[in-house]
Symmetry: C2
Subunit: 166 residues, 2 copies
DNA sequence: CTTGATCTTCAACAGGACTTGAAGTCGAGG
DNA sequence: CCTCGACTTCAAGTCCTGTTGAAGATCAAG
C-alpha cells in the first residue's frame, strides 16, 4: 500500500513531527529501531510509519522501559507496514505488566518506609529498614537483606521517575 | 562525646561492615556524603557513625533516590554525632513522599496503558497514549502532551530505567 | 627488618540515551 | 551560480554510580 513516493520524510521532518531532536532520530536508526532509505545524495528518507514506531519508543521512554526492550518487541513487527492494533495490543499488555511489577515494588518499599516512620525503632537500632550493620555486622555483609538480588536495578529511575530532565 | 580513639575504622573495615566495596566508601567520601580523618600515614580513619550514614545512603539507593538528594538531606545533619530519631523521621518522611509521587505517576501510566488495551482506539489514530503526532502534528511538536513539562528529564537514568534492570 | 595485606591517588571504563561539535555535502530558492 | 539551511559522518561529551587497574606507600605481624 505504499503508493506515492511523496510520503517520504527527511530526518528533520520526522524529528519535528515526532517532537524530538534530529540526533535522536538518527540515534534510533543506529540502534535499529527505525529504518530509512537514502536519496541519491545519501540523505535519509523515512516512510510515514516510522512516526508510529517513534511514538511507541516515546511511550516506552515515559514508562521507563529501556530501548533494548523496545528493540525486542519491535522484532515482531513487520518492517514494511504500519504496526496494527494487534501489535499494539501485544506490546501494551507486555509493558503494562512490567509497569505493574515496578509499581508493586515501589509499594512495598513505600509501605516499609512509612511503616518505619511511626514504628518502634526508636533508637534506630535493629530497624528493618535502616539495619545499621554495626551491631548486626556479624550476620554477614551489609544491609542488602531487603532487596535480594536485584539491587543494581533501581538506579536512576531518574529518568524514569520521569523526573528529571535532560 | 567522642571519647575513645579506638572507635576509628579503616576504609576496609567500614566497607566490610557496611557490606559495600572500599571503592564505594571512597566514592561516597569524594561526594562529600561521609568524612574521615587521616592517620600520619595518610590513611583514612572513619568514626562509627559513618556506618549509619552509609545505611541511609543504601536505603536511598534501594528507593531509587539519587545521591544528590541524599547529599541534600545530609546537609541538615550534624557532622560530629550520630543522626538521631528526629533526623531519620524527617528524612524518611521526605523520601516516603517522593516514593508516593513516583508510585502515583506509575499508576497513572498504568491506568492509561491498560485502559488503552481494551479501549476504542481501534485504528490507533487519535489514541491518547500513542498520539501519533502525524495527523495531529499541527498542534505543535510531538507526543509530549501527557507529561507536561518534564518530558526531557528522563534522560538517562540509566539506572532509571529503574526498572528494568541493569 | 621483611613480608604481605591493606592502604593511597588518579585515570579510565561501563552502560543507557542521547547531545554536541567539527568538517564537509546536498537541495531549493533567487 | 550562489547561498543558506538542512543534511552527512564520526568522535567525543554528558549524567550517574560506581568499579577496575596501575604504581606506589603504609601498617601490623613475625
Amino acid at each position: 500500500m505504499d503508493t506515492a513516493p511523496v510520503d517520504l520524510l527527511s530526518v528533520g521532518e520526522v524529528a519535528r513531527r515526532a517532537g524530538i531532536a534530529t540526533s535522536a532520530v538518527r540515534f534510533y536508526e543506529d540502534q535499529g529501531l527505525i529504518s530509512s532509505e537514502r536519496t541519491t545524495g545519501n540523505q535519509r528518507r523515512y516512510r510515514r510509519h516510522v512516526l508510529r514506531r517513534i511514538s511507541l519508543i516515546l511511550v516506552a521512554k515515559r514508562l521507563g522501559i529501556p530501548l533494548s526492550e523496545v528493540a525486542e518487541v519491535f522484532t515482531g513487527l513487520p518492517e514494511d507496514r504500519m504496526p496494527g492494533k494487534h501489535d499494539w495490543d501485544r506490546i501494551s499488555r507486555r509493558w503494562a505488566e512490567q509497569l505493574r511489577a515496578r509499581r508493586a515494588e515501589l509499594e512495598r518499599l513505600e509501605a516499609e518506609l512509612t511503616g518505619c516512620i511511626g514504628c518502634g525503632c526508636v533508637s534506630l537500632r535493629r530497624c528493618r529498614v535502616l539495619n545499621p550493620g554495626d551491631e548486626l555486622a556479624a550476620e554477614g555483609p551489609g544491609p542488602r537483606r531487603l532487596l535480594p538480588g536485584t539491587a543494581g536495578e533501581a538506579s536512576a529511575a531518574g529518568g524514569a521517575g520521569g523526573a528529571a530532565g535532560a
